[in-house]
């Protein structure tokens, strides 16, 4: 039997559309703004009430019972070794495991996750507990993510092939006419655009290894990286390159690498305490001595 009245398509369409938009609106409704402070809580400033005591090994981590640490792939020497963050070799790998130990997570409870450099400190939900990837702490980034206190004081340096026209540069002014390169989204690139201000448009690379390849090929006169990376590149990757010089700090505060955490993460306080503890008991200094070559003869470019 046919029903007496079949709803015409037109009658069905409007409520259906309304339902669909409603479903979309509910499904895509944004998360609440976290009202986290802009600065990571440091132990001295009193922990916020939201964080529990840092019970070893039982923190509210991304996946229960494990500490998920992010870094980029490839992971560069001397910060990591053999592109294996999990082998504990290299400065940042060693620091990561030291922080994990401090938080009560032994080596077998640490999980590494590949996180591209740029997305580590972009706004949005994070799928790591903290990220360790030579991320310099700065005000813009602090608006998007939480940082631990700095675990390494860094300086930017410029490297060039020995025959290049800037190999003998003594001042920032000598770099003005050069084609310089750096990785996108880095403080190294900011240094080129804000401090050196060269006449030629800088070459911008998605990853540091591409910048090194361009340096090798002579496609750029020099590249800007942090000092330990610079020593590694000139020592191992491009033997006929030299560290032309390092840049003095522009502001009053030294540039520092910090661990990156999600904005308002429950772990920020505990991770910050761990880093501070590692600095004060000399662990960071020991790891640095083990993995990073001393910045011996890199003249400062004024």
């Amino acid at each position: 039997m046919r029903p007496a009245i079949t709803p015409s398509p037109r009658r069905v369409a409007l409520p259906a559309a309304a339902l669909l938009t409603l479903a979309l609106a509910v499904g895509c409704s944004p998360q609440d703004d976290d009202t986290a402070s802009d600065t990571p809580a440091s132990p001295s400033s009193g922990a916020p009430a939201t964080t529990a005591a840092c019970a070893p090994g039982s923190l509210p981590t991304h996946s229960a019972g494990k500490l998920t640490i992010g870094t980029d792939n490839p992971a560069y020497d001397p910060w990591f070794s053999d592109n294996k963050p999990s082998n504990g070799k290299g400065y940042e790998s060693a620091v990561a495991y030291a922080v994990a130990k401090q938080l009560g997570y032994p080596q077998d409870q640490v999980v590494w996750k590949t996180v591209p450099f740029n997305s580590a400190f972009a706004p949005g939900v994070k799928d790591f507990d903290f990220d360790i990837n030579q991320v310099s702490i700065n005000a813009d980034r602090k608006k998007a993510v939480d940082f631990s206190p700095g675990y390494y004081d860094v300086r930017q340096a410029v490297i060039a092939r020995k025959g290049s026209k800037i190999a003998g540069a003594h001042a920032i002014a000598d770099l003005k006419g050069a084609k310089l390169g750096a990785q996108i989204g880095t403080t190294s690139l900011d240094f080129i655009t804000d401090v050196v201000k060269p006449s030629k448009q800088p070459a911008v690379f998605q990853r540091n290894d591409l910048a090194v390849a361009a340096l090798k090929n002579g496609q750029v006169d020099g590249i800007v990286v942090d000092l330990p990376t610079a020593f590694y590149i000139t020592g191992a990757e491009v033997p006929d390159a030299k560290v032309v010089g390092q840049f003095a700090n522009t502001g009053g505060t030294p540039e520092q690498f910090g661990l990156v955490l999600d904005k308002g993460s429950k772990l920020t306080d505990c991770v910050s305490r761990a880093v501070t503890a590692l600095r004060s008991d000399g662990t960071l200094a020991a790891i640095e001595k083990q993995w990073l070559s001393d910045a011996v003869d890199a003249p400062v470019l004024k």
């Binding site: 609106a25 895509c28 972009a122 996108i184 989204g185 690379f205 390849a213 496609q219």
Partner: protein
């Protein structure tokens, strides 16, 4: 026709009352459907705007993707970068069209003596059509300078453009070949029977029809080429997309991406309309040439 005297001069035509009524009715229907369409469009637009603006998260979306301040910051850089995209697109587009046509003709040559040419052209197309463009660009931009060959440029833009040409020539050659093969064999036979040589038949009879048939897919490939010029930035050159990314990576605001994307779309639309017009004009001319 001759006019006959005995026929009274015809009365001037008066449409019947029924016809007038019918036309009035039609005009009324037209007016009514126009009015309904207008109202319906306005209502739909109003509903969409209200839904969008009042949806939760709209303010954050507007702040993140439609931020006036960052639009102003990014626009000059993006436009500077766009100049690179446009140069690449024009130069590579011209090279690709010519080279693609040559490869397609090579593939359709007849006769056993041309076998090696046919085989080479086929091998080239098969390889570069399957090779991911990123690999092609990386290998050419970073790999070729590593060979330290004398007289070979290491300019990343020139090398990147060359890599684009390699890949897109293969695509376009296939489009042209498809066009050539859709021309009915009788056309070639007729041309040859009129005394045209094989080359003349190709040049005057087959190719004009073939090219006309494949204009839409050719345009697809050109638009695709235009968008892929951005991949040359892998070599460090700053194009529109990279310029947008530089601003976005400093500010975590994604308005520059919207700006760059909108510019690319705005470039594509006039190109599409222009080729539609060219195709229509070619078709009109072709249909008028039928009268001998």
């Amino acid at each position: 026709m001759t006019v006959r005297d005995e026929v009274a001069p015809a009365e001037p035509y008066k449409p019947s009352a029924r016809r007038i009524a019918r036309e009035r009715h039609r005009r009324a229907r037209t007016r009514r459907s126009f009015a309904v369409a207008t109202v319906s469009t306005v209502v739909t637009a109003a509903v969409l705007v209200t839904l969008t603006v009042n949806s939760p998260g709209w303010s954050r979306t507007r702040e993140t993707f439609f931020n006036g301040h960052y639009a102003r910051v990014a626009l000059p850089d993006v436009l500077r970068g766009l100049w690179l995209n446009l140069q690449l697109m024009v130069v590579c587009g011209a090279v690709v069209l010519v080279a693609g046509l040559v490869i397609a003709v090579l593939r359709t040559l007849r006769g056993p003596v041309f076998f090696p040419l046919r085989a080479l052209a086929t091998a080239y197309v098969d390889f570069f059509r399957g090779l991911p463009l990123i690999i092609c660009i990386l290998a050419v931009v970073f790999g070729v300078p590593a060979l330290r060959l004398n007289g070979v440029t290491h300019d990343p833009v020139v090398l990147g453009g060359f890599a684009l040409c390699l890949t897109y020539t293969a695509y376009v050659a296939e489009v042209f070949r498809a066009g050539i093969e859709t021309v009915h064999p009788s056309q070639r036979a007729a041309a040859r029977s009129l005394g045209l040589s094989s080359a003349q038949a190709m040049r005057h009879v087959v190719l004009p029809q073939a090219v006309r048939r494949v204009v839409p897919p050719l345009l697809n490939d050109l638009v695709s080429l235009q968008k892929d010029t951005g991949l040359v930035s892998i070599g460090g050159a700053v194009d529109a997309v990279q310029a947008a990314q530089i601003v976005a990576s400093r500010s975590f605001n994604y308005t520059p991406y919207v700006i760059a994307g909108a510019i690319f779309v705005a470039l594509t639309i006039p190109m599409t309309r222009f080729t539609d017009w060219v195709t229509a004009r070619m078709n009109r001319r072709q249909s008028q040439e039928g009268s001998v």
